[in-house]
Subunit: 213 residues, 2 copies
């Protein structure tokens, strides 16, 4: 008889928890942490509110779990993409940034509602100092790996400069995803979401920063 400290959760339990996290993801993304109501999450997941507490522990913890779950998946994809890129031997700045950005944009555009929601979620998290620890935990490892790769291409560049380029690039990517309506408004409609344009912007900006010093 196995006497582990905690019983392994049943398949049913895991499935319920996943449904709750799925719902939480959508609601948190749309309304932010404060604006989201556990009741709405429960309704969307079709479970009683009590269950949201049971699996989520607390509102804050549920939020963190939600972010962590998908961030882990995202990090995995990004690291694997980078490895694959390294094997092709084409380690230009453009290729590295495209690798980083494409991994996400493609999922946001074709991966369904949950990945699109994740874009808004990340925007909430990474713009609020309140989630600094969560941000560090979820995003920094991957970001650092890419940063290292980029710095290899520009041995004279300083890391703070590259870090700035990285943050600016990510913010442009998030704007691309979340503020498409703004681009449409200013440009008189008719934006055919161009990934290439975004990567071009980031690469040129990044390059200018790195070779400036």
């Amino acid at each position: 008889m196995n006497t582990a400290r905690k019983r392994a959760p049943s398949a049913r339990s895991l499935e319920t928890k996943a449904r709750i996290l799925d719902a939480a993801e959508l609601v948190f993304a749309e309304r932010g942490f404060e604006g989201a109501a556990l009741r709405d999450i429960a309704k969307l997941a079709a479970v009683p509110v009590g269950l949201v507490h049971h699996h989520g522990n607390s509102k804050e913890d549920l939020f963190c779990q939600t972010v962590r779950r998908r961030a882990a998946e995202m990090a995995d994809i990004r690291i694997k993409s980078l490895e694959a890129l390294k094997e092709t031997g084409d380690l230009s700045l453009y290729a590295i940034l495209e690798c980083f950005i494409r991994a996400y944009i493609i999922l946001a555009e074709t991966g369904g509602d949950h990945w699109r929601a994740y874009g808004r979620l990340v925007a909430h998290v990474s713009s609020d100092p309140r989630w600094e620890k969560l941000t560090k935990e979820c995003f920094d490892p991957t970001a650092s790996r890419y940063l290292d790769e980029i710095l290899k291409l520009y041995p004279n560049a300083k890391r703070p400069a590259a870090a700035a380029g990285q943050v600016y690039s990510v913010s442009a990517m998030l704007a691309h995803l979340n503020s498409g309506w703004r681009i449409d408004a200013l440009g008189n409609g008719h934006t055919e979401t161009e990934l290439e344009r975004l990567v071009t912007f980031c690469t040129a900006g990044f390059e200018a920063i790195l070779s400036q010093e």
Copy 2:
């Protein structure tokens, strides 16, 4: 006897209202629309909650008033800066973007808490489709004026492309202001907030987009 439809507000009333808007600005900026409590605004302004309702009309209206007030001031500064730049004759892309960005960054860094708060406020507003109308009203006129000027430099560029560059640039500016802690973390601390670096990034990115087509 003057029988205007509404009595002119007393000096005392105006001063109270200004205090409420000042407080609202800080609280909304820090916690977002949903997270902000009218009670906290009242406490910070040192007035009873009832007064916040009286002057604010409703939470949503108060939020809009808060944004509008400072956005109007900002727009005024930006337009005047652009006029001044035109008189110097140096209408390079770099100069135009620097003009747009500097007007804000300088205020955020030296204009006190309220202008720093405004940065976060704008980030909230322009990333949430919920405030689309407010965004259009407050930011589009100024953004369009700058966009027109930029398009004069690149007669072959299309407006949607330039609009994308504009939105990416603004997002980078907001990241510079609001996510400085991220840059510090990734770059191993020690960021000496460089305005020049930001403008360099935006200009190079913008230029690449515009001359790509």
